[in-house]
Amino acid sequence: MIPMNHQTNTLLLSVSTFVYVGAMFLYLFGLVFKKKLLDIAGFVVFMAAFLIESAGLIARWIESYRLEYGHIPITNLYESLIFLSWTVALTYIIVELKYKMRKLGFPVSLTAFIFMAYASFSPNVNSRIEPLVPALKSNWLTFHVVTSFFGYAFFALAFGASIFYLIGDWYTKHTNGKVLSYLPSTKILDDMSYKLIIIGEVLLAIGIITGAAWADYAWGRYWSWDPKETWSLITFLVYVVYIHLRYSWGWHGRAAATFAILGFAFVLFTYLGVNLVLSGLHSYGKA
């Protein structure tokens, strides 16, 4: 057993960062050399990284109780970056088990690695476990953050699927109808990207609503046009447009994929941009 001390969690999380790198290279070689075995190895290593990361998060949670702060590890920039990489990884594992889409493993492990590395190695990100200000001490915290972050994760995967769509589509167009053998068919990618987006949209809606309910409970105002609130609404509306273009005007394929890729810029800005660039209630970025 690993001895439990105050560094166990950050150690486990750093280790998982490197294991994600390993998975990323296996997936990359799988793409280059088109060997199925490499993809499977990539997935196994990816699962290992995910489990180590989960252990790290749990160790951190336990540690916060030992420090008598006792809160779920999703409350500052460091924890949020790690939790986001964890949700992206878990969402990918679910998608992988459903669609058998190992090729998505490369961009996902790259994304997980980038978030983990930013959290672990950036001098601007503080990895200490900190106590909570009174406003954050609420059961709404868990529900609000978990739903919002899984929403982000589904949008991130839709973004990846859409990029693959454009690659597959471009290849077919420039080779007179040949298909990229190592990618799923563009039809599946198009359908997948749409399905990931609608799940992301429902989760984002629940995230916004739980945030509003919490704000009402803590401050008596369910909506105050705080930048984070406004940007999450903006992101929601951007995907509302995507859904209506798809349902009412039959947008799909290249147009829908391009829209999904651009839409993800709004997700990223809502998650990080607002905290790093703008000011407001969700100010962990000022650390």
Binding site: E201, D216, L245
Partner: protein
């Protein structure tokens, strides 16, 4: 006149308008996150300069979410959604009530998903085999006989047709709730020092005075800190009075408000109202200690005609922590002053007053509690709307209507056709259709 109304109606029932409005709301909402909202005029003047300030202020960009043009966008959007729903709902009710149980034989060719299957047995046998098989693997089909032949009709996911309208109606309910809140509710604040009571609060926007139908009394206020100095918890012990009658009492916390008669009092903030008393140790030349607690400006007799008093206090004097300013009096006349730091007792330790030493132990700081006082009769509507919104999204997204027809023509005894269509999720339907066709092929002789 009717023509104009018709045109207006058609204008508002278009999806194109909805997309233009949503994109306009998105585009303008961004402005309000870049320009900080609701700051004092002087700050904007300093930041933007007078002429830019005038221009931005002309377009209400410093309070844009409450500006007439942003509210107009929201209203147009709600009208758009309402008209869209009214326009399309009756047709959908009709469609659901009277499903197309049969389709003209020549229309079947137009379906993307269709398959013609051969059979060798007789027609009645086929019909009952199909009915049993479909009931087992999919759904019980509806049977219709026509001149041309027999039809079996299957439909799933009917509820998905209503999803978008449930979602749209939920937005209308949320909007109505928000309107009720803004017309009949208020958002105000008041700061109270323990012992104080008031029935007057000031609105957050506009700073207008509101008289509550009761009096709030702050009995006590407590703030706890972590070692880092970050606040851990702050709580106000509040009583609600109607005249001399206490009608409610609660200790409120940041996430634990008090509601009385539809008005909710939230623990919003706190601030320093100064220090109320100071614990000081006075040591005389014979090393005799005297622990005393002094209020501000309270004279304390040392000896003969010498007195001391705490004149001022800072919770963090130039980064050195809690500090008091002590004045020395001779015959009630101020002679000198000196600073005493709680964290650095030796800083002034050498200095003594007629052989007396003073050590500052601690200050009992007094705080005021910042209370948010709100009334929002629209909230139940907004909350209901939010729940309906989620239900509507789930109905629209995770279910889709698909229909399958099986046509057994009278003319040709040995083939029948199966055709299907889905409103959405064409790809998932393709797979489902394939599965049904294969099952039928296996079951039919």
């Amino acid at each position: 006149m009717d023509k104009i109304l018709d045109k207006v109606w058609r204008f508002f029932s278009s999806v194109k308008l909805a997309i233009v409005l949503i994109l306009s709301i998105v585009g303008t909402a961004i402005i309000g996150t870049v320009i900080q909202q609701g700051l004092p005029v002087e700050e904007y003047m300093q930041h933007y300069g007078a002429s830019t300030y005038k221009l931005l202020n002309f377009f209400d960009l410093f309070d844009m979410y409450h500006s007439w043009w942003f509210e107009l966008l929201l209203i147009l959007f709600i009208v758009n959604i309402t008209v869209c729903s009214l326009e399309r709902l009756p047709a959908i009710f009709k469609m659901v009530k009277n499903p197309k149980l049969k389709i003209p034989a020549d229309k079947i060719d137009a379906f993307k998903e269709k398959r013609t299957i051969h059979y060798s047995g007789n027609k009645d046998e086929l019909l009952s085999t199909l009915q049993n098989k479909l009931k087992e693997i999919y759904k019980e089909p509806v049977y219709t006989a026509t001149e041309e032949g027999d039809f079996l009709y299957l439909e799933k996911g009917r509820i998905a047709r209503f999803g978008p309208y449930v979602t749209h109606i939920s937005l209308i309910i949320i909007f109505i709730g928000a309107l009720i809140g803004s017309f009949f509710g208020f958002d105000a604040y008041v700061n109270l020092v323990p012992g104080d009571s008031t029935a007057h609060v000031r609105t957050t926007r506009g700073n207008k005075d509101i008289t509550l139908p009761f009096t709030i009394q702050c009995n006590n206020f407590n703030v706890e800190f972590y070692n880092s100095g970050m606040p851990k918890a702050y709580k106000s012990d509040l009583s609600i009075f109607n005249g001399d009658h206490q009608i409610a009492h609660k200790v409120i916390d940041v996430n634990q408000p008090l509601t009385y008669k539809g008005i909710t009092i939230y623990q919003a903030s706190y601030g320093q109202a100064g220090a109320s008393s100071f614990d000081v140790i006075v040591t005389d030349s014979q090393n005799k200690h005297d622990d005393v607690s002094l209020n501000i400006n309270q004279l304390f007799h040392i000896k003969d005609d010498s007195y001391i008093a705490v004149l001022d206090y800072s919770s963090n004097y130039q980064g050195f922590g809690p500090t008091i300013l002590v004045g020395v009096y001779k015959g009630k006349k101020l002679q000198s002053t000196s600073l005493y730091l709680q964290k650095y007792p030796d800083f002034h330790g050498a200095e003594n007053i007629d052989g007396y030493k003073i050590r500052f132990i601690s200050a009992k700081e007094s705080y005021y509690t910042g209370l948010q006082v709100s009334k929002d009769p629209g909230f139940p509507y907004v909350a209901t709307g939010a729940i309906i919104l989620i239900i509507g999204l789930i109905m629209s997204f995770f279910s889709y209507r698909r229909r399958i027809w099986i046509f057994i023509p009278k003319k040709n005894e040995h083939t029948f056709t199966i055709a299907g269509v889905a409103d959405r999720n064409k790809y998932s339907f393709e797979l489902e259709f394939e599965r049904i066709v294969n099952e039928i092929k296996r079951g039919v002789k």
